[in-house]
């Protein structure tokens, strides 16, 4: 039960509140999740909407998005349509409905991690997360999740997307158009001529937190990108993905979806 609602004016203040209240506190972006499903042991919400974390900026290397930017604001930001095959916009149009995208924040998505189409795409396109844990920090999003256990409290302040010519695709499979995905896949690939120089195949809603399938991604590197290499990567993805059953789908079904969606994503990326 939420008994305290605090509006924070700055990241430093929010961090101070978070460390003094402890595990009973949660930071809040758009609140779409926390208002419906506050964790049982949480009684304090710290609203970040006044903490000056809005706005999107672009320089030669990256697009930087503040944590409280809504998914709609990202959809309205045209430069995002010009990088990584426009995959961020493709994905956002398939997230819930405008009624949710108008409130839900990118920071909330990244901080929660699970139940998200946003996270696998951000992992696939090498996004890095900005946060504050007493000092401003930045690290690749994949590393952020891999090291999340036993971490000190922090405030997610934004995300940075590199703009270096990689290609990407996103697929999700859901029971209805705006249901949560039974499984989703995002792939990001960079080329050196006709040969793949880097690749990330990411699977989300397994139903656990999205992960990169390193073995599957690795099969693509240093080779021409064709039907054979795509088929092999999709099969390795199926054989190595760690999936579970839940009411949305069985583990077997998710394994099958993994192969199909990886193949479709990679085929879309093929030049």
């Amino acid at each position: 039960m939420i008994t305290e609602y605090i509006r924070s004016d700055s990241v430093e203040e929010a961090y101070g509140l978070l460390t003094s209240v402890g595990s009973r506190a949660r930071l809040m972006g758009g609140g779409t999740d926390l208002s419906l499903h506050p964790p049982a042991d949480v009684d304090t919400l710290i609203d970040l909407s006044g903490a000056s974390l809005g706005g999107i900026t672009r320089d030669d290397n990256a697009i930087a998005i503040g944590a409280t930017v809504t998914l709609t604001e990202m959809l309205e930001y045209e430069p995002l349509a010009t990088v990584w095959s426009g995959v961020v916009h493709t994905m956002l149009r398939r997230v819930a409905s405008p009624l949710h995208r108008n409130a839900a924040s990118i920071g909330g998505h990244l901080a929660r991690g699970r139940l998200s189409d946003v996270v696998p795409v951000m992992l696939a396109i090498d996004a890095s997360v900005r946060f504050y844990d007493g000092a401003p920090q930045q690290m690749p999003l994949g590393e952020f999740y891999a090291t999340r256990r036993n971490r000190r409290p922090l405030v997610v302040t934004g995300v940075e997307i590199p703009v270096d010519g990689g290609r990407a695709a996103f697929r999700k499979f859901a029971r209805t158009t705006y249901d949560l995905a039974i499984l989703n896949v995002a792939c990001g690939v960079r080329f050196d001529g006709s040969v793949v120089s880097s690749a990330r195949i990411v699977v989300g809603e397994r139903p656990s937190l999205a992960v990169e399938l390193g073995d599957a991604s690795g099969t693509l590197i240093g080779r021409p990108f064709d039907e054979d290499s795509i088929g092999q990567a999709a099969r390795v993805a199926r054989d190595t993905v760690d999936v579970r059953s839940d009411p949305r789908g069985s583990a077997d079904y998710r394994r099958h979806l993994t192969e199909v969606l990886v193949r479709r994503c990679l085929s879309e990326i093929a030049p």
Binding site: T32, D47, L99, A103, Y178
Partner: protein, 155 residues
């Protein structure tokens, strides 16, 4: 906390755990429908500072100092808003429960796009579930409302 709803200033006490849906219904705005209370159906949609959102998963304290529009603020007694009139004329209303939310979604769309395509209308209504109409008539209603608003704007 202070907020403005349909042009009227409110000064209300709010519980930290309350959602905007329950706050608005508590102050008498029953046009904001409690359909699923779970962020799914869109019957509770309201405009907050120009953006349509589901009010059932919007924390009430987060609405402090905002400007809110509910279906009650669309038309006036005796004079329907063009969106409301179009829903009636097109048969876009059957049981009517989802209608306030649909009208709010339509209102946001028509504020941004004067001549929306059917795809744009369907995308705008994507978060409003309707069990009666099959969506064809509401989409037609928004198309008619857009044409009437363009006509009115053009003189």
């Amino acid at each position: 906390m202070n907020l403005t709803v349909n042009g009227v200033a409110f000064d209300v006490d709010v519980e930290p755990s309350e959602t905007l849906l329950h706050l608005l219904r508590r102050v008498g705005l029953k046009g904001v429908k409690n359909g699923c209370d779970n962020g799914d159906c869109g019957a509770c949609a309201v405009l907050i500072d120009g953006r349509a959102v589901t009010s059932c998963d919007y924390p009430a304290p987060a609405a402090a100092d905002t400007n809110i529009l509910t279906v009650e603020g669309l038309g006036t007694e005796g004079e329907l808003h063009p969106i409301q009139a179009a829903f009636l004329d097109a048969g876009g209303v059957q049981c009517g429960f989802c209608t306030p939310g649909m009208m709010i979604s339509a209102y946001e769309l028509l504020g941004r796009v004067q001549e929306p395509s059917d795809d744009e209308i369907r995308e705008a209504l994507r978060g409003n579930l309707c069990r009666c109409t099959g969506y064809v008539k509401p989409v037609e209603a928004v198309r008619i409302a857009a044409a009437r608003l363009r006509e009115a704007a053009g003189g």
